[in-house]
């Protein structure tokens, strides 16, 4: 038996316009829990996609159990012994635990399902891991962690040697996380290796043996968890941040454009903040901390349960985005492919749609004006396209994002809610977009950045709000920001905040 169950050599993955993985090398030791951490966009999800055959690598080799790993489908991978616990669970809610465990491997006689005998491996494993989960129960009645356990057990039933877990605790409470950790520790006894992907640092120190840090598609380093401190790990994740890019502006504190008090929705609790003319503020937190939820509540996409939103001195509660846009608010949505663009339509139509009134009379569109505006933005935003008639789906990620920003600028708004404005695009385009955002603020707009990328927040924002589970934990001025402290707060949330209170 080889010491390393999985070896990755010089793995590269290029998407149009972006290198998501650059010469990644990894050694995963047998019977260990190997954590992979990194910010959003560091390359974690691309790595999972390649290991689970959702994507093909551009270059590089992977060896599994000493042999070249060439699975073509996810089923293939499972048969070779690699199972994956995705964030979106792969259980069928309408079936019982037993039916889920045997799904696809039912024993049949003359085409009729035979009652499985209890000596089957999955049953013994289930008893080992979770004796309290009854085989007869409908999976829909299980909690999230119980469903995860069912999936892990199912993977063991087909003799998985390696289980990849993608942010498994993102949706779990502390108690549930502990239960999952017990399961993971148990897996080691069953000779199963775990690749644990997360950005919650507490998890890594609770169960990890090794940790590899990814940043911008590069492996920054692999360390033994027992040999490293939280501070060192955070430094590896964030890197040397060039804060020199941040330049303070003259903020017009006499003009309060947005005033939010005690904003509550399904996911948000008592959000308070003010936004002034020329100001850029930022909300920073992990996935699920409530960033998008704030943007959506302000843009008429979510029901506000309680609280007050005042725009330019008038109290507002928007029913649909159209209402928000009438009041000068526009949102750059988080998902450019499914929320920002209409892929089938040309750049021209994608840009004009936010403000057809400007180019029409009595509902009839002046197509000449439409073309002029589209051309202006292509030039102003440096969009690399053959013509304004090029369809959005044929552009690279960075250029697509510039089209999204263009359409938002075209709405002639004064308040910009920007949800992950540069996610997944290359460094050059990122810099360009950052410059546009700064220029906008200087010219008189007010901007809220929602980002899970530390350097973006620090480089752009005058004031930074740290979010955890729908609550603002701390508000910092740009000059008071220290990477380690901030990361500590957003990755460890309340636990940390409470400790500080008691100290």
């Amino acid at each position: 038996m080889k010491v390393n169950i999985l070896k990755v050599r010089n793995l590269c993955k290029n998407y149009p316009g972006v290198a998501a993985l650059k010469n990644v090398n990894l050694n995963i030791q047998r019977n260990s829990v190997h954590c992979i951490v990194g910010e959003n966009g560091a390359g974690k999800s691309t790595l999972i996609k390649i290991l689970t055959c959702v994507e093909k690598p551009t270059r590089g080799e992977i060896f599994f159990n000493g042999q070249t790993y060439q699975a073509r489908t996810i089923r293939n991978a499972i048969n070779m012994g690699i199972s994956t616990l995705f964030q979106e669970l792969n259980v069928v809610d309408q079936l019982t635990v037993e039916e889920n465990l045997t799904l696809g491997r039912e024993k049949t006689k003359y085409g009729i399902i035979k009652k499985a005998d209890n000596s089957e491996k999955v049953y013994t494993v289930l008893k080992d891991f979770a004796p309290d989960i009854s085989l007869r129960r409908k999976v829909s009645s299980l909690s999230f962690v119980e469903k995860q356990i069912v999936e892990v057990v199912k993977a063991l039933g087909v003799d998985a040697n390696l289980i990849i877990m993608d942010e498994p605790t993102a949706a779990l409470s502390d108690e549930e996380s502990k239960r999952l950790f017990t399961v993971i520790k148990n897996l080691k006894n069953q000779n199963v290796t775990v690749i644990y992907i997360s950005h919650i640092l507490n998890d890594i120190f609770s169960i990890g043996d090794y940790v590899t840090v990814l940043r911008d598609g590069n492996v920054i380093g692999t360390e033994k968890v027992s040999d490293i401190t939280t501070e060192e790990l955070i430094k590896m994740m964030v890197g040397k941040t060039i804060i020199g890019n941040y330049a303070s502006r003259n903020i017009d504190y006499t003009r309060k454009v947005l005033y939010v008090r005690n904003l509550c929705t399904e996911k948000l609790h008592d959000i308070n903040f003010d936004l002034y003319k020329n100001e850029i503020i930022g909300f920073y937190g992990l996935r699920g901390a409530g960033k998008s939820e704030i943007a959506q509540a302000l843009f008429g996409l979510d029901t506000i349960k309680k609280g007050e939103v005042t725009v330019n001195g008038k109290m507002r509660n928007f029913r649909i985005p159209k209402d928000a846009m009438r009041n000068g608010i526009i949102m750059v949505p988080e998902e450019r492919l499914t929320e920002g663009l209409i892929m089938k339509l040309p750049i021209r139509s994608n840009i004009s749609i936010t403000n057809l009134k400007k180019i029409s009379k009595l509902f009839v569109i002046n197509s000449k004006k439409e073309r002029v505006i589209a051309k202006e933005y292509i030039k102003k935003m440096n969009i690399k396209a053959r013509s304004i008639e090029q369809k959005a789906k044929t552009l690279s990620g960075g250029n697509q994002q510039k089209v999204v920003i263009s359409k938002c600028l075209n709405a002639d708004s004064v308040i910009f809610l920007m949800d992950e404005p540069t996610r997944g695009i290359d460094v050059g385009a990122k810099e360009e977009i950052h410059k546009i955002i700064r220029d906008l603020a200087t010219e008189g707009a007010s901007i809220i950045i929602f980002s899970s990328e530390y350097s973006e927040i620090v480089n752009l924002c005058d004031k930074i709000f740290l979010l955890w589970e729908g609550e603002i934990l701390q508000v910092l001025d740009n000059k008071d920001v220290h990477a380690e402290e901030v990361m500590n707060v957003i990755t460890q949330g309340k636990k940390r905040a409470k400790n500080e209170d008691s100290n």
Binding site: P333, T338, L345, S367, T394
Partner: protein, 316 residues
């Protein structure tokens, strides 16, 4: 690269080519096909499909669906005759029946948008309801007495040498072509069909637009119904069965995607004529109508297959 720009154009070229081919074949095979009388006849037959189809094309571009147009056509046609027998003036009867169509459209829109019933199910429901109402009112009988001599004016009359129906079709086609290509409504229909969420986030009242499109379909169908009754000279509650599929076939032949986001009124017009001419040609050739149904099915599947292959070829 140049090829990519002309995908839409190529699609249109193909269906126009098919239409021309059919015309050539039929005029070679029969003496009666290429006559003014016959072609006028075909135009009249497809006119109802074209009128309703103009609005249905926009609706399907937006990614929605309407199965109720056949029943609506039957109901409003019957009502236009029924109102006349009650003593309502003909002009008012036409307007009232058209407005009933509008109401059915509104109902469809509200069911789909506000109550979030999938459009196929919701309009299947109104399809049964409208047909049922027509049968209840007439007790299943046709209305042909007491309609007066003017009742058939719209459907059979001429303005100079030109059939009135033809003028109406040209007007409605022109209007909807204009809506499709030049107006905000047309633009929104494509945007909603292309990506509803993005369109909502771009500040469009998506719900209102979809309801409006259903209302347009209902209104035009209502008007088609009165036109059909006028042409037949009778108010018939069972008329228009299968009409919804004729419309949908024409729209799909015309290159409108079932998923929405692409399509054209022009394509629908050609599609309607392809279906109409084939039926007409088979009649002239003395082939039994049973075979027409088979052929219609083959053509529909073939057209969509061709479309899929064409797109694959070009985007690769």
């Amino acid at each position: 690269m140049k090829i990519q720009i002309s995908v839409d154009f190529l699609q249109k070229l193909v269906i126009v080519g098919v239409l021309v081919l059919i015309v050539i074949v039929l005029s070679l095979l029969t003496d009666t096909f290429l006559t003014v009388t016959n072609l006028t006849n075909v135009s009249r037959q497809v006119s109802f499909v074209v009128i309703t189809g103009s609005a249905v094309t926009l609706l399907m571009i937006s990614g929605n669906f309407d199965l109720s147009v056949g029943s609506t056509l039957g109901l409003t046609g019957m009502l236009s005759a029924y109102f006349v027998t009650l003593g309502v003036p003909l002009w008012l009867s036409i307007i009232l029946s058209t407005l009933i169509g509008t109401c059915i459209g509104l109902l469809n829109g509200v069911l789909v948008v506000r109550l979030k019933i999938p459009s196929i199910i919701a309009t299947l429901g109104t399809m049964y309801i409208a047909r049922g109402v027509a049968l209840v009112i007439t007790k299943g009988h046709s209305i042909h007495l007491g309609l007066g001599p003017n009742f058939t004016f719209l459907g059979r009359g001429y303005l100079g040498p030109v059939p009135i129906t033809l003028l109406i079709i040209i007007f409605i086609l022109g209007l909807f072509y204009f809506i499709e290509t030049k107006t905000i409504l047309g633009k929104y229909a494509f945007a909603i069909g292309g990506n509803k969420r993005t369109t909502l986030l771009s500040g469009v009242n998506v719900d209102a637009i979809i309801i409006l499109l259903y209302i347009l379909v209902g209104t035009l169908t209502g008007f088609s119904g009165t036109l059909l009754a006028s042409r037949l000279g009778v108010g018939q509650p069972m008329v228009g069965q299968g009409f919804e599929f004729d419309v949908i076939v024409a729209v799909i032949l015309g290159g409108t995607s079932l998923k929405g986001g692409e399509g054209s009124i022009f394509g629908m017009l050609i599609g309607a004529f392809i279906v109409g001419l084939i039926a007409n040609g088979l009649n002239l050739l003395g082939i039994h109508s049973f075979y027409q149904s088979i052929l219609k099915g083959v053509i529909l599947a073939g057209a969509v297959l061709l479309d899929i292959m064409l797109k694959k070829r070009i985007t690769v």
